[in-house]
């Protein structure tokens, strides 16, 4: 009781302190400095109409590379923590016939939608991370509905490594051509898709990088699901 009261009081104090800090922030006023620059120049500098993905991939691509690295480390860490010699699915009951049939029907559509999200990252809200998570959801559905389902490990791990390398490689090509890491050579030098900003074939290297990220996030999250659902079997 005393512990709980102390926790509530300290949380209230922290909340009051943060609210005091936020009270000084002028909401509803135009105080944009960097953001105004992004909004004004995003079309001619990156070719994307979605300013968020242009910032995430193009202006501040290094952060995204860091995030992808964090996900990779998380997946590897889960794999290392749950490493056992013999691991199997130990699910006891198959999903009901409604669930299995529904999953069979829905999984292709879920995957299609995930691919749609990451391919259209420069046009619509979303991008590589939501698209990859949607694809991992499709695999989670398969894992939940079927007792015997397992992802094809060899192919998945190879894809994961290859697309991770591809991201760095895209950055290194930019370094070689333009002089700095993750330089958008497709837009800046080739001017590919200048005439159709707002359509699919534009946006410089944002669709390429988002395809890479989508595949990477999808395979990684599926791998984490796979690791966590398996249990050790004693022989």
């Amino acid at each position: 009781m005393l512990k709980r009261a102390l926790a509530i009081i300290s949380l209230l104090l922290i909340g009051y302190w943060i609210a005091q800090g936020l009270a000084g922030v002028p909401f509803g006023q135009d105080r944009m400095l960097v953001a105004q620059y992004y909004l004004d120049h995003v079309k001619e500098q990156t070719g994307a109409v979605n300013a968020v993905t242009a910032i995430v991939v193009n202006y501040r691509g290094f952060d995204t590379l860091g995030e992808v690295t964090v996900l990779f480390i998380a997946s590897t860490g889960v794999g290392a923590l749950l490493w056992r010699r013999k691991k199997q699915r130990t699910a006891k009951t198959e999903g009901s016939i409604v669930l299995t049939t529904g999953t069979r029907l829905l999984v292709p559509f879920v995957m299609l939608f995930g691919a749609y999200i990451f391919i259209h990252g420069h046009l619509t809200p979303g991008g590589g991370f939501p698209g990859g998570a949607t694809i991992a959801t499709a695999f989670l559905l398969l894992y939940m509905a079927f007792t015997a389902y397992e992802i094809p490990h060899k192919a998945f791990e190879k894809t994961e490594g290859a697309v991770g390398m591809a991201y760095v490689l895209v950055g290194l090509i930019g370094l070689a051509i333009g002089g700095y890491f993750l330089y958008d050579w497709i837009w800046q030098d080739w001017g590919f898709g200048v005439d159709n900003i707002g359509r699919l074939l534009s946006g410089g290297f944002i669709p390429i990088i988002y395809t890479i990220i989508g595949l990477k996030v999808g395979t990684e999250l599926s791998g984490i699901i796979d690791n966590m659902l398996k249990e050790e079997v004693s022989e």
Binding site: I97, L99, G102
Partner: protein, 131 residues
């Protein structure tokens, strides 16, 4: 205000009314199974009404286009396919984890079926890969 916008508004109104009924059913019904029965059905129907209504409504306005209707219809079909499956899985999981029926229930054929299967496991044919 033209006919399309009016139809869309009416559909959205019907949809929200069914949302209200679904929320009311959650409070009003006595046990899990009845609550699921009322809430899933009317929430699915309400969502369909709202979504398709928004699509048709957008056709009637001067800023809307056919893209709205296409998107909303796709979402509505997805919801129509997934919502019953999730409701089925939830109910089944609730029954398997031993949540009792309402005390006023009189018939529980599924329990009889399960018990009959326990008594003679090799005689009853396997049904749908369950257990």
């Amino acid at each position: 205000m033209n006919a399309l916008a009016a139809i869309g508004e009416a559909l959205v109104l019907i949809g929200t009314f069914f949302y209200l009924l679904s929320a009311l059913g959650l409070i009003r019904m006595p046990d899990v199974y009845n609550r699921m029965q009322t809430s899933t059905k009317s929430a699915t129907l309400g969502s369909l009404g709202v979504m398709v209504g928004v699509g048709i409504w957008a056709l009637g306005t001067d800023f809307g286009s056919a893209a709205w209707l296409t998107k909303t219809v796709v979402i509505a079909i997805f919801l129509l396919l997934t919502n019953p499956i999730s409701a089925h899985a939830l109910i089944r999981a609730a029954y398997k984890s031993g949540i009792p029926l309402w005390e006023g229930s009189v018939v529980d054929k599924y329990r009889e079926h399960l018990e009959g299967k326990e008594k003679a496991p090799e005689e009853t044919p396997k049904e749908g890969g369950e257990e």
